[in-house]
Amino acid sequence: MHSLMQSPQRCPKRLSDDVVRTVALMGTFVTIHVVGPEDGPRRPMQREEAIERAFEWFNRVEECCTRFEARSEVMQLANHVGVPVRVSTILYEAVQFALAVAEESEGAFDPTVGYAMETRGFNREHRTGKTIRTPLDSSISVSYRDVRLDADRRTITLLRPLILDLGAVAKGLAVDLAARELRPFKNFAIDAGGDLYLGGCNPDGQPWSIGIRHPRNNHELIDSLRLSDRAVCTSGDYERRSAQESGHHILDPRTGSSANAVVSVTVIAPNAMLADALATAAFVLGPAEGMQLFDRLAVDGLIISPGLERYATRGMREYH
């Protein structure tokens, strides 16, 4: 067997200082990779602690935002319809951002699809396997306009009985908070099952190389990107299919059924929360309107249609 002493020339030595840790969180695996520090005896310890705190953010965000736990903060809102409820900063900011994206996409992205998601079988807590069933009047149609915010009091008011689904916001938010925690280390990668943030460079001193999975052939990549200090998120119809039906995890809030205008959307943005939300919005909007959305918001993206045609913003070339 080889030993450390026989390390070949082709591998930079600092590779051995990398920390790569994977933890099951938020229904997926979260991997944090911090590229080895230059030197200094104290840094490794600080690095461990920072990674610990970075992982903690995922729990903290999930506690507030999960739809799969009746006692979570977001689910408690449904018990107080019509009443302003004071909420945590995490929940308030997540909802405020989700509503802004809903506004911008004219409802193609809508966080009030929670109940529709639940009734379509996306109702299982990943850790315990328990399913949730919220008693709501399903005949009432709801939209993002049924949610009111009060920034001064930090309250959220649901005007109608509804469940907020922050799935497309919370994971990205957790990635961004973890990224902020790791910022002092400059070179790191956070992968939370589709939501990534790439800080600085990879162990080779190059921008991180990120493969984008082929939406139909999971043995292939449909593209690969070079990223540095950017978030990237891909939403595909192959992820997280519903337990009951053939549908996938992105509902068109306007029709209540799975969106099928595209099969895969990738967005590159300054933070993962924005990338994820816009990928979800574009998934519903389809290629033409999706590209318009990207151009309007000055983010870059790649949309794959069911016929596997590629639609990419001009800026995508910069990442190859």
């Binding site: 030993s3 026989q6 591998c11 997926t28 729990n59 405020q96 802004a100 999971n218 918001l297 000055a298």
Partner: protein
């Protein structure tokens, strides 16, 4: 604000201070007025400039919404981070318990591979190391042997689904190559492989060599997907063929447990 203005301001302030100290209120009033005039001048000179920039930035139509959404998301992250939630207890406790759980599974899993014993790490009882990271890459330990037949371990399976192929749960398996051992974890939900990942990387090189972070699902969610890591498009993989095979073996070992 240029240097001469600053200098003038400083002189006026000095005179003001001196006059007050010396008990000449008339001089104090004079310099007070001078300060007000100076401030007004500064405001007239600098503020319009700033607000014009600001205005131009705001009115570019293609940038307008982008600015607001990017700003909003960035501000949200800053606001939450500043609130310092993670330092309060509930999350820390939950994280600890999860870490303990992970620690236990790691301990179980670490027993089988010969030569993988790392004194002081996995040998330690999990409870006493509650804050220890659940999965940590260690500097590769020199090893006598890493046989090709990997062992595996099953952790916390939930309700098995009768009509599906795999039992739900998280499964661990080991794979070996000349560079060392890799432990893969496979998450099965609803009888399907939801996600796979490297849970322990005991190789001479960082497992990042075989772990490009594909946005579509992190690690390959089927053993065969390791093949995609060798795509020439992804430099991460090139030169890590054997480690890729080790990962593939590890996933296969984990899956064999899930079918039992």
């Amino acid at each position: 604000m240029d240097k001469s203005t600053l200098l003038l301001l400083a002189i006026v302030l000095a005179v003001f201070g001196a006059s007050v100290a010396a008990g000449h209120p008339a001089w104090g009033t004079f310099t007070g007025i001078a300060i007000i005039l100076l401030a007004a001048g500064l405001a007239a000179g600098t503020l319009p400039l700033h607000s014009r920039d600001y205005f131009e930035e705001r009115i570019r139509p293609s940038q307008r919404m982008s600015n607001s959404l990017i700003t909003l998301s960035s501000a949200a992250i800053v606001a939450i981070y500043a609130a310092g939630y993670h330092r309060t207890s509930p999350a820390a406790h939950r994280f600890d318990s999860q870490t303990r759980q992970q620690r236990t599974s790691t301990t179980i899993a670490s027993v089988p591979p010969p030569g993988a014993a790392k004194p002081g790490i996995d040998a330690t009882p999990p409870v006493s190391r509650s804050v220890a990271p659940p999965v940590k890459k260690r500097p590769p330990a020199p090893r006598k042997a890493a046989p090709g037949a990997p062992s595996d371990s099953q952790v916390a399976p939930s309700t098995p689904s009768a009509q599906t192929r795999y039992k739900d749960g998280v499964y661990l398996g080991w794979g070996s190559c000349p560079h060392g051992d890799i432990e893969a974890s496979v998450l099965i939900q609803g009888g399907k492989i939801v996600s796979t990942a490297i849970s322990q990387c005991l190789t001479r090189y960082s497992c990042s060599w075989i772990a490009p972070r594909t946005p579509g699902g992190g690690f390959p969610d089927l053993p065969g997907q390791v093949v995609e890591r060798q795509s020439p498009k992804v430099d991460y993989v090139s030169g890590a063929t054997e480690s890729s095979y080790a990962f593939s073996d590890a996933v296969a070992a984990a899956l064999s447990k899930a079918t039992e």
